[in-house]
């Protein structure tokens, strides 16, 4: 393993392409953003780096803090729904007969073959007033009305005089549903990997000792697959927090998230320094979440007497 020490030239040769990639396309732009966040607008395209902290102070305005808080709520809610949906799905795949597993996993990752933007637009066709959900709902409504008429209750208007479509689009519900739809696979896959790896005899031992299935899930399966859930939460919550096009496409006037605000600074508002400051604050929040996870995982390992 240590043989690269004997061939330093070879080592650097191999390090060069990825090193260059990271430096040119990650570190350099990030540094630009960092520097910009301490700048001031001067004219339409000019930016002066003055070392001011005004952008950060402005970002702490209750208006923006409110949007950040709302983003956390929506992204957190979507993550929770992903977790609740992801566990049974991951479980079903892990316990499916071996010949079904590959197919089921394929179904989970199949949506990746279509661009997420297109998938998000297609959700409009599902959620809009005359979309698929409301069409199905209307059909049920009409049938129910017919049934009532048959029962001699036709003129009572028990279900309302007219069919009213459910307000599914251009609101917080649509944004949350869009985020769940886009991120569910990222929850299922780490959960599946963890459940699959877990020794089945733990489950059998629990059943053997008299526990029912619910008790076994709570006391054995959940604690042993929690690491997978934690990974899923991180890789769903962090990008969901900063997503801008799902709220832009599916959201209404009051469902903009912090991602939309940042995007607007770089485009419509033409205030790059402020956008940079907001971006960095979001990144620091993400670091905070990751640090929290590391601390939690560390405490877990400590409790188990590990390293």
């Amino acid at each position: 393993m240590e043989s690269w020490r004997k061939h330093p030239l070879l080592f650097w040769l191999f390090l060069l392409p990825p090193g260059f990639w990271l430096a040119a396309f990650f570190l350099a732009p990030l540094s630009v953003v960092f520097v910009l966040s301490f700048g001031e607008k001067s004219g339409i395209i000019g930016i002066e780096i003055t070392g001011t902290l005004d952008n950060y102070i402005r970002a702490l305005d209750p208006l923006y803090l409110g949007i950040i808080w709302k983003s956390i709520l929506i992204a957190g809610g979507a993550t929770l729904v992903c977790l609740l949906l992801g566990y049974p799905v991951a479980f079903a795949i892990a316990f499916a007969p071996a010949r079904w597993k590959a197919l089921l996993l394929l179904i989970v990752i199949l949506p990746f073959w279509i661009n997420v933007l297109i998938r998000t637009y297609s959700l409009i066709a599902v959620f809009r007033g005359r979309g698929f959900v409301n069409m199905a709902y209307e059909w049920l409504w009409t049938r129910a009305n017919d049934l009532l008429a048959l029962a001699g209750l036709g003129d009572q208007n028990l279900l309302g005089e007219y069919f009213t479509p459910l307000p599914l689009l251009y609101n917080n519900f649509a944004v949350s549903a869009g985020l769940v739809y886009a991120f569910l696979p990222f929850m299922v896959l780490p959960l599946y990997a963890n459940i699959e790896r877990m020794d089945r005899s733990y489950i059998e031992a629990s059943l053997d000792l008299g526990a029912g299935h619910l008790r076994t899930f709570r006391s054995v399966i959940l604690p042993l697959t929690w690491q997978g859930a934690l990974s899923g939460i991180i890789i769903v919550f962090i990008p969901a927090l900063g997503y801008f096009f799902i709220p832009a496409i599916l959201g209404g006037t009051d469902s903009q998230m912090i991602g939309n605000v940042i995007e607007r600074q770089f485009k419509a508002a033409n205030d790059w320094p402020f956008g940079a400051a907001l971006s960095l604050l979001l990144m620091y929040a993400t670091f905070g979440a990751l640090a929290l996870r590391a601390v939690l995982a560390g405490r877990n390992a400590e409790a188990r007497g590990g390293v």
């Binding site: 059998e204 053997d208 000792l209 008299g210 526990a211 006391s219 042993l224």
Partner: protein, 374 residues
């Protein structure tokens, strides 16, 4: 019919299997198993890997449901009961000690699930830990324990439920030789101390013979023979059992004539032989039968042996394998048949008693011969 066993009549049957069969796809893992296991018995299921012994144990635990047949425990039909409803507990081959719980929490798990009161649970956990000599490790986490200690946790965790039957799946296979021997004695001690029926699955015949009251030898999903260790070793009834347990010289021969208590058989290269049998009617209509004799029953001598009752053949020593306390001697009898004999190295000596090429006599008592069905 060979599954029918000598079964102590004074002991009550606790577990009774009738026609138990398990099929996976087109593979029959367990086929028509009939067994009666007595209360307080130490019973072993012995066989090569893939013989169906583990599947049978898993059906007793409730992890697999039989496709046909019934399992009665204390007279009640348990065949389709889920594992958490059976008064039976299992020690897993991998131990399956919960890694996120301390030793004490692991042992207490079954009581907690059953809703046993706090103070009673504490006493019983303490008692169970003392039983397996882990009372000073109670607050450790499983990954701080050795393999042998983890196994004791699994044992205590199962025993604390006071099961009617304790199932052990290859419990000693992951332990090193010294620990295995100690654990064997420990298991026998525990069984006597607790008065619980033990059923152990093993592929190790020494383990089965040294610990169990009775052993069921399995092959290809079927029970070949059920007997006490001594009977199994000295009186195997079928070729598979004779070959699987210990070492054996096997001769195939043609059945010449059948008497009430013996068979006359002509073995190619060895000539006519007579072997005792308890029930010669089994061999009715058979042309070929297998004869067998254990290597330690064969005596190797330089001079022709005395005694009317001894079967004797002359031959040449082919090979001697020296094991310290004893030697395996392979002798090619005149007629080209090679026989294996165990010779105890009773006296201390400076050079081997037998060398390849020596002319010797091999002999054994006629009543040590075995006749085997199929």
């Amino acid at each position: 019919m060979y599954a029918a066993s000598e079964h102590n009549a004074d002991q009550r049957t606790i577990l009774s299997l009738r026609g138990v069969t398990k099929v996976f796809g087109d593979f029959t893992a367990v086929e028509d198993v009939n067994l009666d296991i007595a209360e307080n018995e130490f019973f072993a299921l012995l066989g090569p890997s893939g013989c169906g012994k583990t599947t049978l144990l898993r059906m007793l635990a409730g992890f697999e449901m039989p496709n046909a047949g019934t399992i009665h425990l204390d007279g009640k039909d348990m065949s389709l009961q889920p594992p958490n409803r059976r008064p039976v507990n299992m020690v897993f081959q991998s131990y399956a000690v919960f890694p996120h719980m301390s030793v004490r929490e692991n042992v207490a798990y079954g009581l907690k699930v059953a809703g046993v009161g706090r103070s009673e649970a504490r006493d019983r956990v303490e008692e169970a830990l003392q039983l397996v000599k882990l009372d000073n490790q109670a607050d450790k986490q499983p990954d701080q324990l050795s393999g042998g200690q983890r196994q004791r946790v699994a044992l205590a965790r199962a025993l604390i439920k006071r099961p009617r039957v304790l199932l052990l799946d290859e419990p000693l296979s992951a332990l090193d030789a010294k620990l295995r021997e100690a654990m064997q004695m420990e298991l026998v001690r525990l069984r006597h101390a607790l008065g619980i029926t033990f059923i152990i699955v093993t592929h190790d015949q020494d383990e089965a013979l040294s610990m169990a009251d009775r052993v069921a030898v399995m092959n290809d999903g079927q029970v070949q023979q059920v007997a006490a260790p001594l009977t199994l070793y000295e009186y195997p009834t079928r070729r598979f059992v004779a070959d699987f347990i210990g070492k054996m010289n096997l001769f195939s021969g043609r059945l010449e004539s059948r008497h009430e208590d013996r068979l006359d058989v002509r073995v190619a290269g060895l000539g006519p032989m007579t072997a005792p049998t308890q029930d010669s009617s089994i061999f009715e209509g058979r042309e070929e039968v297998d004869l067998a004799v254990r290597p330690e029953k064969v005596r190797v001598t330089a001079e022709a042996p005395e005694g009317e009752s001894r079967v004797r053949r002359q031959g040449t020593v082919k090979n001697v394998a020296y094991y310290g306390d004893m030697s395996y001697v392979f002798v090619t009898l005149d007629g080209a048949f090679t026989i294996n004999a165990n010779v105890q190295n009773e006296a201390r000596r400076n050079d081997p008693a037998l060398r390849p090429g020596d002319r010797v006599w091999c002999s054994w008592e006629a009543h040590d011969m075995l006749v085997l069905a199929d």
